[in-house]
Symmetry: C2
């Protein structure tokens, strides 16, 4: 379906014939896998059994060592990459005779910290259930050697989905191709990060230090979930994000509203006017020049958005919504735009604790979601200009008494540095090749997502390495990633093996000639 | 000072000559008091020692019985007045031969509930300190018989200021007049309420049941503090108040702001726009027709506001304010107007607990302060019309799923019934008489406050009994009323005795003839 849409935007000098679906490879991989489901899952289970919080340096290195050995078992040269004070990344390389393109496959082996008390079973005790826990599924024994897994069964453990299973899926795909005698079409490199879920603080240094080693024509990211419809999805970008907190000030102590209201400035009212001045109720950001750096959707992006499965009505019903923001565009289009999401407001008390006071301060926390070519530092400067325009004296620490006395309106701006969006054009030859290879492999259209609504610091790969990035997720959307009871639906692991095998086998051939 | 200002608005048929200050009575009362400070304070101490939370019916009746006996000791007929399920009020009557006017003196003997853990000493253990606790004052022994009190010493106990000391001041004033052979100028009645600090739930019934007994030409309220400048103050009204809470709704559960923001309605943003639509940053209320029922200040009120001591700069400095709301008018004028004070906003979290979510709901709590002739039910209806005008479906209970699905915007409106303002015209003969009698007694101008910024349900006295009310407070403004470590500055008790003695002696003569 998407290939059809995309064809409208293909220029004549590109290879004209869309690949005919050839799903024989997929079927052969599935047959191969069906005979060895238990050892495949056992390899995943062994990896999931090692605790993997980034600051747990002993266990982090146990994970890395195991993954190095897993790569070596596939004939790859492998080792850990270091950056000072960072958990190591695992690097692997598997050259393909005659291949002209090199693809780095990315995943991360560290996981989010856990709140064990909230887990039904211990986070690093790998458990099999006969369905989703949310539907009351029970723990069941793993099948004995030679046995099969019902594809709706689920594996529960930290990082079952995010992000160890893509590592196993990719390596198993290599096993399948080898066993079936199918040639790889590209050189392969592997980069498995060890601190993504801890904020990737050392990622820039890691990439710069090992830039030569990591040279490639494409990075494929095996991270994140497939579409909510359970259809396969390929994402071509992420939005950037920047967290901001604003605090406005009133009297130095709480005052009786009857005796001082209407005279002492009311921080809750100031904050309300400020928020209203920054964003309307349809999501439009009202800060001057905010949209200056925003690139419009390309025709290919527009077409991809239009082609995405319609999920709005179902989600609206599920969320009990009587309306959505915006001008009637679907969810996918709305979350492809820049956003200002006010996630927290607080000033004084409501409900049973309410009291008739003028409070000393009120605070709002929000995130800006950024799109190409917005830069966080530029957005912060536009925000502060907006605040100054509205009469505020901007500070970045708590104002002292003299400052409070000296300025009619004071606002404290804090937050994080944020990072920009990353986008890969849909009409690059490599983008078309990935979509075609995936659709040819799976025998069904994939959902093409111009950017993911969420944010990851993928801009860093593009900026440091100058290489296009494309996300090819495999895990189920309802995997509870980052939270308790993270899980992987077995069917998604099987589909992932097939997808990755197909990409490795077909991508080089669909890419077109090196220019 | 005020008498001068007021004279500008006197019509020719009124008694033209302002009373010459005759402070000989004040001096004589002071001399009389100086010889018996210990027994005066002992009577107050005995009253303060009885716990007085309205729901503590046993102790409430012990308070009432003691006050009945205190009244009887002054030759008044006295008894408790009942209303079903209510703490009793104490009623007393002391006729004056030849008097043509009857004045009811109001106070309340119940007090606010206590949080004993926050008190420096137990709330009903009466303690003397050599100054304010906030300045580190130490507990000292009470003087022995015949001793004197330093006027800056303070008595600490629940209701030391609010509102038992006015009872003792008034009854001591009667003792002084009798001892000095000074005639009373009015008939006196006393109404000491037993549930004011519990919300006066039964007050309307109490007044209606005993309306004949409570007939009078004036009620004088011995409640509240003097001016912040420590100058004597007479107040001619209070604002009404109505508490309102608004809750607006977004998705049924918290959503990832990257994946759903800009699409799922954001309750924090909705609330901000709503608040901004209701009130500007200078206190002006933007709800259609809100000001229709608001009476303008009368020339006398305007003159009184202009004559009030200038305290703004000092309070601004104390509160670290760089500006105030409004168009530059002083505090007293600002709190004489209707207000919308947003005292609480909450939606999601800020600070360390902030998370990038779209929250399910956001809430604001605020009070409307009302002035004559606004009615709370009318204001609520204007508010709801404003909400409807902005597209909201108004509910008064939590909306169910079907309601949430059916309406694009839903708002829950809750709060209290509120009550209207009470105002006594400054240019009534009785108002002039009270000001003149007070100034003549004290030998200094009194601060005339057109309305108090705060709220008390005084409208009920006016509506049920059809009588003017004037507030003649005596206690210090820094008395911590309603909170821990409530206290009375001794000087305020002495001044109060002198003021009340002067009012009783002079008021009837300055009132002018009965029409």
């Amino acid at each position: 379906m998407f290939a059809l849409v995309l064809a409208l935007f293909m220029s004549p000098q590109q290879p004209a014939a869309a690949a005919q679906p050839d799903t024989s490879l997929r079927a052969r991989v599935a047959t191969w896998r069906a005979a060895r489901e238990v050892p495949i899952v056992e390899e995943l289970t062994a990896l999931l059994s090692i605790p993997n919080v980034a600051r747990d340096s002993v266990n982090i290195r146990r994970n890395a060592a195991l993954i190095v050995s897993m790569l070596e078992r596939r004939g790859a040269t492998a080792r850990v990459l270091e950056s000072p004070s960072s958990p190591p990344a695992v690097y692997g390389e598997l050259l393909t005779p005659g291949a002209t393109r090199t693809v780095v496959f990315y995943s991360h082996y560290d996981g989010q910290p856990v709140d064990s008390a909230r887990w039904a079973t211990a986070p690093w005790k790998v458990v099999l259930r006969d369905g989703p826990l949310t539907a009351g599924a029970k723990e069941i024994p793993f099948p004995a050697a030679g046995g099969r897994f019902d594809p709706e069964w689920r594996i529960y453990a930290r990082s079952a989905s995010d992000d160890k299973s893509p590592i196993v899926a990719m390596l198993t795909a290599l096993d399948a191709l080898k066993a079936l005698g199918v040639a790889r079409s590209v050189n392969l490199k592997f980069f498995f990060a060890g601190e993504e879920d801890a904020g990737s603080e050392h990622l820039g240094d890691m990439l710069r230090r090992h830039a030569d080693l990591l040279k490639a024509d494409l990075w494929l990211f095996g991270d994140g979930p497939v579409h909510q419809s359970r259809k396969p999805k390929i994402s071509f970008g992420v939005r950037g994000v920047m967290g901001v907190q604003l605090t406005v000030y009133g009297p130095a102590r709480p005052l009786h509203s009857g005796h001082y209201g209407n005279w002492a400035p009311n921080p809750n009212v100031m904050l309300a006017h400020l928020i209203a001045s920054m964003r309307d109720e349809e999501g439009r950001i009202l800060i001057d020049n905010f949209y200056d750096d925003v690139l419009q959707f390309s025709p290919a992006q527009r077409a991809a958005l239009d082609a995405m499965p319609a999920v709005d009505d179902q989600i609206k019903a599920n969320l009990l919504l009587g309306r959505t923001e915006g001008t009637g565009e679907p969810l996918a289009a709305q979350v492809s735009r820049p956003a200002l999401n006010v996630s927290g407001i607080s000033g004084g008390r409501t409900g049973d604790a309410a009291a008739n006071v003028i409070v000393p301060e009120a605070t709002a926390y929000f995130d800006f979601r950024l799109v190409p070519d917005q830069r966080p530092e530029r957005v912060r400067s536009l925000l502060e200009a907006h605040l100054v325009e509205r009469g505020y004296h901007v500070v970045h620490e708590d104002p002292d008494s003299a400052t409070r006395r000296a300025h009619p309106r004071i606002i404290k701006v804090t937050g994080d540095a944020g990072y920009p969006a990353m986008s890969t054009a849909l009409d690059l030859p490599v983008s078309r090749a990935v979509i075609r290879a995936a659709e040819a492999t799976l025998g069904e259209p994939v959902v093409v997502e111009p950017p993911l609504g969420g944010s990851l610091p993928l801009y860093m790969f593009k900026e440091v390495l100058g290489v296009p990035l494309i996300m090819v997720p495999i895990v189920n959307h309802d995997n509870n990633q980052h939270a308790e009871n993270e899980n992987l639906r077995i069917r998604n692991l099987w589909d992932g093996i097939e997808l990755y095998a197909g990409l490795v086998a077909k991508l080089g051939r669909m890419w077109g000639p090196v220019q």
